[in-house]
């Protein structure tokens, strides 16, 4: 055993690596001696927030995680649900916020690469990507650089590996200026019987490293970064940036799926944050075995690498497989066929110890379980933030609201042109949306629809979270994130099956932040329970702070719903002149936290819209029943910008106007722009109007028949009378013009 650290030096290194003194003491107790350099590195990464979830673990137990069709809940690389006929869908969302803030293209690209590996590790072929993005306002060159770079990176990686990017969301708000959010979600499809586990078992079996060489890139990368507050000094951490190699990843997808299909592997894991240490120790833990790894066998990208560097390197595009000695040759032949390196770097043992050696010299030797399972678990302090009372008490009716058609019309154009509402085509035009030929509905609608080839079924998917609502009320905001995702999926004709989440927050060591985190998890859990939808995977990203203040709480939901009959899928655009327009739900005076308030009045305050989970679910069920009965021509939910924006979007998408009268007694601005939840603009053929309204009546959901599709103008009686051309001219070009620096968001706020 190499003892390269004295009892004096070891605690010092531990501190430098981010371990707390008590954590260091625990390591000494576990080992019964002073740790080696390699051991300290391995523990410090495995016990970092990113890998150990030490601050969030307890709160996450609130999530419902089971259901009759859940094949794999949280705990593996991705969750898996059965979607019928022996088909299963694996999905997960993950953050790559901090790497992207340093180098947006590579940060976002490697974020996609990482989440894709989580999917095919499970034995599933990746079939779709989504992303959830947050930036500061695009007036500053740095924000434009981050936005342009991360969109290009997501496209650059996903397009190259041949996985369509089918949806996502993006918001711009000063709260994210020093800490952008890049959350990537991936979905895979497999036969149920191919479900694989990242497990090592069978003493004497071999550990095979497949894929790229190992370099110093990313040493202390994602995991250290993701666990430290982010400040201006972050730029010093540059050399740890990893460059993605999507070509290698594409080969890995094909080779790994072929290896699994041929049943040549005992287990398969990907190398993500904390590299080999994390994947090897987790595989050993799951299999209740030991491992003996020789770093001198690992193909190095650079000369003179130290054992700890091999163990913690985050070089991308690498997989770890366990194979029996008899099948090794066949397994390696498949790797070679795909042009991939594969190297035996160690063996499985029955000692339950994780031994690392460099040739004959042992450099680390610890109980394998302790890396993955013995990390400390904390109960962070919580305090309700002081700003909430004042913010929630704000009464939007005290503002001067427009009342004339001219004033309301110009407000509508401004809201449509807002970066948070405008067309996202500039983004998704850079993404291959169709490769694999299963994309039935491309980005641009409420949810993307992907068919399960060979069946009649499809899945509908959406990612959602309004951080502003969460800032104003994290409990309700998180519920709304879920409700909106479910509503988007319902508008496409899908029934929610399960969600993944990515919980983006500031430092959990700040009681206000942790309170918001806890409330969000509680809110999301309650929403999931009300809809009987489990959480099957997810990711927590803490320490999203810049210049001392946390981002908005941003608990993003990625929801997958199922359509039993893909041909019954629904879209949002107005279809035919003469169709009847129905508004499901009832508008309340809820301008708090709205896009209108922010865009037209520059105010981010008030109580966010209320949410009644039972009512919300009843509305989705009613809509789905109507869609399944063939009574619906289009459906689009009201989100940012309220019913006025929803109607405008239906009209622009269909190049067809409408004349409607809103039947509420609210002030005009509230009537148009209130963001009351649970509302959906539905159209139907005139002949079906009675059947549709009967159905809604029988289900006991609130609705009003508001008008008729037709013409080339959007007319909302007494309030709006604007041509579609003008609506589109406001809505369409914003992102491109902002990116080019041709437009300042100030101009968008002026009438």
């Amino acid at each position: 055993m190499r003892d390269d650290l004295t009892a004096e030096l070891a605690p010092q290194l531990a501190v430098e690596l981010g371990l707390k003194p008590a954590e260091y003491d625990k390591i000494v107790v576990i080992l019964g001696r002073t740790p080696t350099v390699t051991e300290l590195y391995m523990y410090s990464l495995m016990w970092s927030e990113h890998c150990s979830y030490k601050h969030s673990k307890k709160a996450l137990r609130m999530f419902p995680t089971t259901g009759p069709y859940v094949l794999q809940g949280p705990g593996e690389n991705a969750g898996v649900i059965s979607v019928g006929d022996g088909w299963a869908v694996a999905f997960k969302m993950e953050s790559h916020n901090h790497p992207s803030a340093i180098e947006p293209y590579q940060g976002a690209a490697t974020g996609v690469g990482g989440i894709i590996r989580d999917i095919f590790t499970m034995g599933a072929r990746p079939i779709a990507n989504l992303n959830s993005l947050r930036f500061g306002t695009l007036d500053k060159a740095r924000q434009r650089y981050l936005f342009e770079g991360s969109v290009a990176g997501i496209g650059g990686y996903g397009n190259c590996i041949g996985v369509p990017t089918v949806g996502g969301e993006v918001y711009f708000d000063a709260a994210y200026e020093g800490n952008c959010l890049i959350n990537a979600m991936a979905i895979g499809l497999m036969r149920e019987e191919n479900l694989t586990s990242a497990v090592a078992s069978g003493a004497g079996n071999l550990v095979l490293l497949i894929g790229s060489t190992t370099g110093r890139d990313g040493i202390g990368g994602a995991s250290t970064l993701a666990s430290q507050e982010f400040d201006e000094k972050a730029e010093d951490k540059r050399p740890s940036v990893q460059v993605g190699d999507p070509f290698e990843e594409k080969l890995l997808i094909e080779a790994c799926l072929e290896l699994l299909e041929a049943k040549l592997l005992v287990g398969l894991g990907d190398l993500g944050a904390a590299g080999l240490t994390s994947s090897a120790s987790e595989m050993a833990s799951r299999g209740e075995v030991g491992l003996d790894i020789d770093v001198s066998m690992i193909p190095a990208r650079e000369e003179g690498m130290k054992p700890f560097e091999f163990m913690v390197s985050e070089s991308q595009e690498r997989m770890l497989a366990v194979v029996t000695p008899e099948l090794l040759a066949s397994a390696q032949a498949i790797c070679t066929k795909w042009g991939l390196r594969s190297t035996v770097i160690g063996t499985v043992t029955d000692t339950r110890r994780f031994v690392v050696r460099e040739g004959d010299e042992i450099v680390a030797d610890m109980p394998a379980d302790t890396l993955a399972s013995d990390a400390p678990v904390y109960d962070p302090a919580m305090t309700r933030p002081a700003y909430l009372d004042e913010a929630q008490a704000f009464d939007p009716s005290t503002l001067p609201h427009p009342e004339t058609p001219a004033g309301l019309g110009s407000a509508l154009l401004r809201v449509l042109a807002s970066p948070n509402v405008c067309s996202r085509a500039w983004i998704y035009r850079q993404y291959d949306q169709q490769v694999l030929l299963n994309t039935l509905e491309r980005p641009g609608g409420d949810a993307a629809v992907i068919r399960i080839a060979g069946t009649k079924r499809a899945i509908a998917v959406s990612t959602d979270c309004n951080g502003r609502y969460c800032y104003l009320d994290p409990y309700v905001g998180a519920q709304i994130a879920f409700a909106e995702a479910a509503r988007n999926v319902a508008c496409a004709g899908g029934r929610p099956a399960a969600i993944t989440d990515c919980l983006n927050f500031g430092s959990p060591e700040k009681p206000e932040v942790f309170w918001a985190f806890h409330e969000s998890v509680r809110g999301m859990s309650d929403a999931c329970r009300a809809f009987e939808v489990p959480v099957i995977s997810g990711n927590v990203s803490f320490y999203n702070e810049s210049f001392g203040s946390p981002i908005y709480p941003t608990p993003t939901v990625g929801l997958v719903g199922v359509l039993q009959d893909a041909s019954k899928r629904m879209t949002m655009h107005f279809k035919n002149a003469g169709d009847v327009v129905v508004l499901l739900g009832e508008t309340a005076d809820e301008l708090g936290g709205s896009e209108y308030l922010s865009t037209v009045h520059g105010v981010i305050a008030g109580a966010p819209p209320a949410l009644d989970l039972e009512e919300e679910r009843a509305i989705h069920e009613a809509l789905l029943a109507a869609i399944e009965a063939g009574l619906v021509r289009s459906a689009h939910d009201c989100s940012e910008g309220g019913v006025a924006v929803a109607l405008a979007e239906c009209a622009i998408a269909g190049a067809l106007g409408a004349t409607v009268a809103l039947d509420d007694d609210l002030a005009p601005a509230s009537s148009l722009f209130s963001e009351t939840q649970g509302r959906i603009v539905v159209t139907c053929a005139e002949a079906d109007a009675e059947a549709l309204t009967d159905l809604f009546v029988s289900r006991g959901v609130a609705f009003s028949v508001i008008g008729e599709v037709g013409g080339d103008r959007l007319v909302i009686e007494e309030k709006i009378d604007t041509s579609i051309e003008e609506l589109e001219a406001a809505w369409k070009p914003t992102l491109e013009r902002l990116v080019r620096g041709e437009l300042q968001s100030e101009e968008l706020h002026e009438g």
């Binding site: 070509f247 080969l251 291959d432």
Partner: protein
């Protein structure tokens, strides 16, 4: 009649071509890039994707694949060869078609369904009337076709320009209609003999009306009918 679809490392639209062919009732199978025998195939398709990551230049490495020698001989004997997107790029790198690809004007990847106009052409893969407008998705980062003036004139004169980017009504905008900046709005060309055809748009993406449309069908079916002498 049997299509062979070549799989290069990094190809990612090969299964799409196969699905589209099967949908259209065309017998089809994969050809591995390392193979040197393509007997038994009546037409060869080089699919879209990112062969070898497109890292050095698109198509630059793939053209040295062992199978490509056979594909060249097959084409020289008059065998029909289709290159879609990355396949088109490989055909130019292999000098089976003239010109070369630059990065899109604007340096952005473009995924979008665009209108395209059929030109008067000797191409054996199409028989749509000149001026027909079809709508097919493009999906590339390097589809900005370039060639010297002499080559461009020759392509035109010989009826080797098969498809041009155009406006929805079939006209070509004075400043160019190609979203990627392509010379003369060129979206697809063939060799003089008309048997080798490369195009940037993806016809295999618009074959199934249940999913997306049917405008791509003729680009796969015409050659079948022609070889069958129908």
């Amino acid at each position: 009649m049997r299509f062979g679809v070549v799989r290069f490392p990094g190809s990612n639209c090969e299964q799409d071509i196969v699905i589209a062919c099967r949908y259209l009732g065309i017998d089809v199978d994969y050809v591995w890039h390392g193979d040197t025998d393509i007997t038994g195939f009546d037409a060869i398709v080089l699919p879209g994707g990112f062969s070898y990551g497109d890292y050095i230049r698109t198509g630059a490495v793939a053209r040295f694949s062992p199978v490509m020698g056979e594909v060249v001989r097959f084409a020289e004997r008059g065998g029909p060869v289709l290159g879609v997107c990355n396949g088109f790029q490989i055909l130019t790198e292999a000098h089976m078609l003239p010109g070369a690809m630059l990065r899109n004007r604007g340096l952005k990847f473009i995924c979008e369904t665009v209108p395209l106009r059929l030109e008067r052409t000797v191409c054996q893969w199409v028989d749509l009337p000149e001026g027909t407008v079809v709508r097919i998705p493009i999906n590339h980062n390097e589809g900005n076709f370039t060639a010297d003036a002499e080559t461009l004139a020759r392509l035109d004169a010989n009826g080797q320009v098969v498809l041009s980017y155009c406006e929805p009504d079939g006209t070509r905008a004075p400043g160019g209609s190609a979203p990627n900046g392509s010379a003369n709005d060129i979206a697809g060309i063939c060799n003089e003999r008309g048997n080798v055809f490369g195009l940037m748009p993806h016809p295999e993406r618009v074959v199934d009306p249940e999913a997306s449309g049917t405008d791509g069908q003729p680009f796969l079916t015409t050659i079948v009918a022609r070889l069958a002498g129908v």
